[in-house]
């Protein structure tokens, strides 16, 4: 029979008090673990959502964070738009000339390589056009390359897959330029399916409709990225919506597009009429990214932002401190719970002074009875801490499907966040400190007077 066993028996003997004290510590620890887990999930979700295959977002000059928020997360308002010619700067002369022939515009545009074409190399530049909504969800005008070239997942190696249907096409006989793809959450929330028609509104969720719908041709499988809550429409169809054409300036030099006389397709917007909100760029050689970023930022016409850098700034400046404050508050609840341990044990000291005196009479040293009390405090800490940890993990694991749907972050039953391993030693030390006051009372217990009482 050792001191730990004696402490355990005391713990069990005062079952209700022990249970309530342990419960309060368990809830405190559970709360801290959950906040830590949420902290980890949010951090991971932010960072992984920023890592979607491209390394730079190019947009109008202004706030780099705002550019990242509206182009990567589809949050906040777009800053402004860039002329389509800025997008053309990412392509070599041959492709630029093809664009001029296809859409119509200044022929000189096709006579030179784009300023940033050399930096892009084997990479890609994908345009986004924002501004319309489908209910609360953002409508994103883009090109089929969006689905072919972008990747997601923890290793940024998973291509987009379709739960139903296919990717949008630039043009086909059936739907012409008006095809769209729904993110998984949009489809789940709206109940729309392949074949339905999505009617976007202009400017904001309550804006007026364009009078032109897009046929749903595909529904994305969940990606755990902001793409789950976006509607992707064909960029050419987006341009053709009412009010989306930029007025042509009087001095604009335009060569009309080359069209086959038998071509029955509706005419597309010409290059001076086109704008993009942002451009997602992946450099073929990642070493070229800083140079290109500097070149764009020095151009005075646009800015290039690295999404991961911006998100890390957001995390460290706003989200991080908020979560840290939350963590501190929950740690304080742990301290309060530990204080409860102190109060509970200390209050029981009046009842057990005689027991301690009896143990002393049986030969127990002052140090031994002190350790019995400290061990009791430790038992509460270990059981409360372990139960709280387990409770939090079971709770998080139970919400795993929801968390994965919302953030794409998979949580296992025993997924441990960054500083979680420090929690149990912290609780043990805290409880030991809480046990010191009653333990000292035990240490000072006078044998003679308590046995005579």
């Amino acid at each position: 029979m050792n001191l730990l066993f004696i402490a355990w028996r005391n713990f069990r003997y005062r079952a209700l008090s022990s249970f309530l004290t342990t419960l309060s510590l368990m809830l405190g620890v559970g709360l801290v673990v959950m906040v830590m887990a949420i902290y980890g999930i949010i951090s991971e979700a932010f960072v992984r959502n920023a890592a979607v295959g491209y390394n730079l977002v190019v947009g109008p000059r202004g706030s780099a964070l705002q550019l990242t928020l509206n182009s990567v997360y589809y949050l906040s308002q777009p800053i402004e738009n860039l002329p389509y010619t800025e997008y053309m700067e990412f392509f070599p002369a041959e492709e630029r000339a093809k664009m001029v022939r296809e859409f119509g515009g200044d022929p000189k545009l096709g006579e030179r390589d784009g300023v940033y074409a050399g930096f892009v190399g084997d990479g890609y530049a994908i345009p986004l056009a924002l501004g319309d909504y489908f209910g609360e969800f953002r409508v994103v005008g883009t090109i089929p390359d969006f689905f072919e070239k972008l990747r997601h997942g923890p290793e940024v190696d998973q291509p987009f897959t379709f739960r139903e249907g296919r990717a949008l096409e630039t043009y086909n006989e059936e739907n012409q330029y008006f095809e769209c793809v729904l993110g998984s959450r949009v489809a789940a929330q709206s109940g729309m399916k392949v074949g339905d028609v999505m009617n976007p509104t202009h400017g904001d969720p309550e804006g007026k409709g364009h009078g032109q719908g897009f046929t749903v041709v595909g529904i994305l499988a969940p990606t755990g990225t902001p793409n789950d809550r976006a509607v992707f429409v064909n960029l050419e169809g987006f341009y053709l919506l009412e009010g989306h054409a930029k007025p042509i300036e009087d001095d604009a030099v335009i060569t009309l597009p080359e069209r086959d006389p038998d071509d029955t397709r509706p005419p597309l917007l010409m290059i001076p009429e086109r704008e993009v909100t942002s451009i997602l760029v992946r450099n073929g050689n990642i070493m070229h990214a800083p140079g290109m970023q500097n070149r764009i930022n020095e151009s005075g016409r646009a800015q290039a932002a690295a999404p991961i850098g911006e998100i890390n700034k957001l995390m460290s400046v706003i989200v991080g401190p908020l979560l840290s404050a939350l963590l501190v508050i929950t740690l304080i609840t742990c301290v309060v719970a530990a204080f409860g341990v102190l109060v509970a044990i200390y209050n029981s000291m009046n009842d057990r002074r005689r027991d301690i005196a009896v143990m002393r009479a049986l030969g127990a040293r002052r140090g031994s009875v002190t350790w019995v009390i400290l061990f009791e405090s430790l038992i509460i800490a270990i059981i409360g801490g372990a139960a709280g940890w387990l409770l939090a993990h079971v709770a998080i694991y139970s919400a795993g499907t929801f968390i994965e749907q919302q953030t794409g972050v998979q949580v296992g039953l025993f997924s441990v966040s960054q500083f979680e391993w420090l929690l149990l030693p912290f609780v043990l030390v805290l409880s030991l400190m809480a046990g010191i006051v009653p333990a000292m009372a035990a240490y000072r217990t006078d044998v003679g007077s308590n046995l005579s009482a």
């Binding site: 029979m1 005391n10 027991d355 009896v358 009479a361 030969g363 002052r366 044998v447």
Partner: protein
């Protein structure tokens, strides 16, 4: 076995000053001897037992138990001495309520050598007639049974001197005899010296040697100064 010489014990009084409760010029008990100490309430009997057990320290004088001078020991030394040498039976039993009967007996061993002999604990409970109630908690035992467990616990550490403080005062007359028999017989069979404090002449008459506190203590009961 026990030799007390010129023992004085004084307590500090709350209002200042000192209260002398014991002044014992000479008192001895031989090995395996059984002594009944009778005296009036408030005469200092329990204080004397606490001093012999090392639970209190003497103001002056000498207490030697088994050739160990208690007054020279530190508190830790007295704890060790008590665990190894003394068995103590309280008037109010003082069983620990969180522990079963057998665990209470084992507690008597824990603080001595630290080695717990489960077989001896069960054997002792068997000797006091409670083998079948070894796992009962104190509140599940009658008063007489609780005192039997307390006796088994006092014997658990194989003491050389058993101090019993009115062990029959709180048990019914029918149980008192058997408790007394148990203490006397157990000490005899294990050659343990016994000093039992009592105010009952019926109890004291069972002993081969009876001492009156007023004969060994110069401080009269209730007139201590």
């Amino acid at each position: 076995m026990l030799t007390i010489e010129n023992l004085i014990k004084k307590f500090q009084q709350p209002g200042g000053g000192e209260l002398t409760v014991l002044d014992v010029p000479k008192f001895e008990i031989a090995s395996a001897e059984q002594v009944a100490l009778i005296g009036e309430s408030g005469g200092g009997k329990t204080t004397l037992l606490h001093l012999i057990a090392g639970m209190l320290s003497a103001t002056s004088g000498s207490i030697r138990v088994d050739n160990i001078e208690l007054t020279r020991l530190s508190e830790q030394g007295r704890d060790r001495f008590r665990a190894a040498t003394i068995g103590y039976v309280f008037q109010t039993f003082n069983l620990l309520p969180a522990f079963s009967a057998v665990e209470n007996v084992k507690l008597g061993m824990t603080f001595g050598s630290g080695r717990v002999d489960s077989e001896r604990a069960l054997d002792l409970l068997d000797r006091v007639g409670l083998a079948e109630r070894a796992n009962y908690r104190p509140n599940q035992l009658s008063v007489g049974q609780q005192q039997r467990v307390a006796i088994a616990r006092a014997l658990a550490g194989r003491p050389k001197l058993l101090l019993a403080d009115e062990p029959t005062a709180n048990v019914d007359p029918a149980s008192a005899d058997s408790v007394l028999d148990l203490i006397i017989d157990s000490c005899r069979s294990e050659s343990i010296a016994l000093l039992m404090v009592t105010h009952s002449m019926d109890v004291a008459d069972r002993f081969e040697r009876i001492e009156r506190l007023e004969d060994i203590n110069r401080i009269p009961a209730l007139k201590q100064s």
